[in-house]
C-alpha cells in the first residue's frame, strides 16, 4: 500500500469533506477532518486500509485560533507485525463547546485514551460509555472547578 496512493484515494473519495491529506515525512500521513465527517472517514480508513490499531489519542489546545484539535494516530497491525505507516486524523473542535463523536465504536482501543483526553482537556466524546475521573484526584472538581490541566490557560504555579 503506497502512501501517495492513499492520499490520492482519500482525496478522490472525500474531496471537499476533508482537508488535503498531507505526507509529512516517510510513513506519516496527516488528514484534517471536521467532526461531522469524522465517523465516515474513520470507517472508510478502517475498512479500506485495515488500520485496526489506534496508537494514541491526543488533544492540542490552540487558544489563539479558538480551537482544540483531537489527534488520532492509527496504524495497521497484522499477525506479522506493525505496518510502518501511521495515519494521523486531526479533528478541530470548537473551544467553547468542545464536543466530538467518540471513535470507540470503530476502535475499541481508544477507550482509555479518549477518557484521558476528556479529563485533561475537557473535550466531550459523544457516545463514549464511561467518561469518569482517571488520572486526577477525586476532589479535583471542588478544588479547580471547570479547569483542565493541559489547556493553555491553566498555569502552573511557577509560570
Amino acid at each position: 500500500m503506497n502512501e501517495a496512493q492513499i492520499i490520492d484515494e482519500l482525496r478522490d473519495k472525500f474531496g471537499e469533506r476533508i482537508g488535503t491529506p498531507e505526507r509529512l515525512r516517510q510513513h506519516r500521513i496527516v488528514v484534517t477532518v471536521e467532526k461531522e465527517n469524522l465517523l465516515d472517514l474513520a470507517k472508510f480508513v478502517k475498512d479500506t486500509y485495515d488500520l485496526n490499531y489506534a496508537i494514541s489519542v491526543s488533544g492540542i489546545d490552540y487558544p489563539e485560533q479558538n480551537k482544540f484539535v483531537v489527534v488520532y494516530h492509527l496504524c495497521k497491525m497484522s499477525e506479522e507485525g506493525h505496518l510502518p505507516l501511521v495515519l494521523t486524523l486531526k479533528v478541530p473542535v470548537n473551544r467553547q463547546t468542545p464536543r466530538t463523536p467518540s471513535l470507540i465504536s470503530i476502535w475499541q482501543s481508544v477507550e482509555w485514551h479518549e477518557r484521558e483526553t476528556w479529563e485533561l482537556f475537557g473535550i466531550e466524546f459523544e457516545g463514549h460509555p464511561k467518561l469518569e475521573r482517571l488520572l486526577l484526584h477525586e476532589d479535583w472538581d471542588e478544588e479547580f472547578p471547570n479547569q483542565f490541566p493541559l489547556r493553555k490557560d491553566f498555569l502552573l504555579e511557577d509560570e
Binding site: 496508537i55 494516530h73 499477525e79 507485525g81 476502535w107
Partner: protein, 359 residues
C-alpha cells in the same frame, strides 16, 4: 450468591501505586477495574514549561526501570524536527543502552513476578543480579545507576569509557549462566506452570482489538515489534529475532520476556562487535523549528510513541507520550472469570508500571 467488593491497592503488597477494584463472588472475580492516577504528576504539562534539553530528565522519570527508550523516543522526535543525522557510533551506543534498559526492566519484572506467585528466591535473585550486573554496567557507561539521562537530542552525553566492552562481555557471560538457573528454578517449575498456563488467555484478534502492545501482544501470537517493523537507531543493521508465543496466556507472556532477555544480550554483543568509530554526538540548536513529529520506539513494555509539537520556540508546544502501560490497561479485563489466586500472575504478566500510565 452475594458478591464482595474490595480494592486491591494502593496500600497492598500486590498492587504498586495503583488500585484494582475487584468484585468477588466465591473465589471467582466477577469484575476487575483498574484505577490509575495515584502517581499522576502531569509530566506533559510540566514539559511545556521547560526547554527541550531540560525535559530529558523529566520524562525519563515516568518509567524508572526502562529510562533509555523513553528518552530515545523524545530525542528522535527532536532530531527529526531539526533535520539532523545522528552519527552511527551514537546510534550503536543508543542500542546498547536501550537493550541494557530492557534487561533491567525485565529482571525487575521477573523478580516481582516471582514474589507475586510466592517464590521469594526468584525475587532475590532477580533484584540481586539486576543491581550487581546490569545497573553496574549502566553506571560505568552513563555515570548513574538508574536515571542517567544519557540519551539526549543529537546523540549521547559521553563516549563509552575504556574497557567497557570487556566488562560488559564478562557480565553478559555470567548473565547467560544465570538465565539457565532462572529457567531451572522458576520457568520449569511445575507449580509455576500450573499457576500461569491457561490463565488470563488473550486471543490474537482480541489483543489487536484491545490495542495491547509489547510482550503482551507477542504472547498472543502477533509478531509486533517496532525494532523490526519500523527500525530506528541501529536496529536494522543488527541480527535478532522476535520471540512470539501463540497461547496468549500468562505463561507465554512471561516466556516472551524471559527469551527477550537472552536476545537483548546477544544484541548488546553484536552492537559492541560492530561499534563504529566516530563522533558520539552532534551539535543541536536550542530552538526547534515549527512542526510536528510522531516517533515510535519499542520500550521494554511495548511500543512507546512520542507526539511532539513545536511552535519554533525553545520549549515544546505539546508533548504527548502514549506509553505501553497505558495501552495495556484494557488487559485487566482478563481477570474477569478467573480465580482470586490468578490475580497476581495476570497482573504481572501485563508488566504494568503505574508511573508510566499516570505520567
Amino acid at each position: 450468591m452475594s458478591s464482595m467488593y474490595f480494592s486491591v491497592g494502593p496500600q497492598h503488597p500486590g498492587s504498586g501505586h495503583f488500585r484494582m477494584k475487584i468484585t468477588l463472588q466465591g473465589d471467582i472475580i466477577l469484575n476487575a477495574e483498574p484505577d490509575p492516577g495515584f502517581v499522576h504528576r502531569s509530566v506533559e504539562k510540566i514539559a511545556e514549561t521547560r526547554e527541550y534539553l531540560q525535559n530529558v530528565p523529566l520524562i525519563e522519570r515516568q518509567c524508572l526501570s526502562d529510562v533509555s527508550s523513553v528518552t530515545l523516543a523524545y530525542a528522535m522526535g527532536i532530531e527529526e524536527l531539526l533535520g539532523i543525522e545522528v552519527p552511527p557510533r551514537a546510534q550503536y551506543i543508543r542500542v546498547i543502552m536501550c537493550e541494557l534498559s530492557r534487561i533491567m526492566s525485565h529482571l525487575y519484572w521477573l523478580a516481582i513476578l516471582g514474589i507475586f506467585v510466592g517464590h521469594s528466591t526468584m525475587f532475590m535473585w532477580g533484584f540481586g543480579d539486576r543491581d550487581i550486573l546490569i545497573t553496574e554496567t549502566a553506571e560505568k557507561i552513563a555515570g548513574a545507576r538508574v536515571s542517567y539521562s544519557y540519551i539526549i537530542p543529537g546523540g549521547v552525553r559521553y563516549d563509552l569509557p575504556d574497557g567497557i566492552k570487556e566488562h560488559t562481555m564478562k557480565t553478559l557471560d555470567y548473565f547467560q549462566g544465570r538465565l539457565k538457573e532462572y529457567d531451572a528454578i522458576f520457568f520449569s517449575n511445575p507449580i509455576f506452570k500450573r499457576r500461569t498456563k491457561g490463565v488470563g488467555v488473550l486471543s490474537r484478534s482480541e489483543a489487536i482489538r484491545l490495542g495491547v502492545t509489547g510482550p503482551t501482544l507477542r504472547g498472543s501470537g502477533v509478531r509486533g515489534d517496532i525494532r523490526k517493523d519500523a527500525p530506528y537507531a541501529a536496529y536494522d543493521e543488527l541480527d535478532f529475532e522476535i520471540p512470539v508465543y501463540s497461547e496468549g496466556d500468562s505463561y507465554s507472556r512471561s516466556l516472551v520476556r524471559f527469551r527477550e532477555m537472552k536476545i537483548s544480550s546477544s544484541i548488546i554483543r553484536q552492537a559492541f562487535e560492530n561499534l563504529p568509530e566516530g563522533d558520539f554526538k552532534v551539535k543541536t540548536r536550542k530552538k526547534v523549528p515549527e512542526g510536528e513529529v510522531f516517533s515510535r520506539v519499542e520500550a521494554a513494555r511495548g511500543e512507546l510513541a512520542c507526539y511532539l509539537i513545536s511552535d519554533g520556540t525553545r520549549k515544546p508546544y505539546r508533548l504527548k507520550m502514549s506509553t505501553p502501560s497505558f495501552r495495556n490497561l484494557p488487559g485487566f479485563s482478563l481477570m474477569k472469570g478467573s480465580m482470586l489466586a490468578d490475580m497476581p500472575p495476570i497482573y504481572m504478566s501485563l508488566d504494568y508500571w503505574p508511573l508510566e500510565t499516570d505520567r
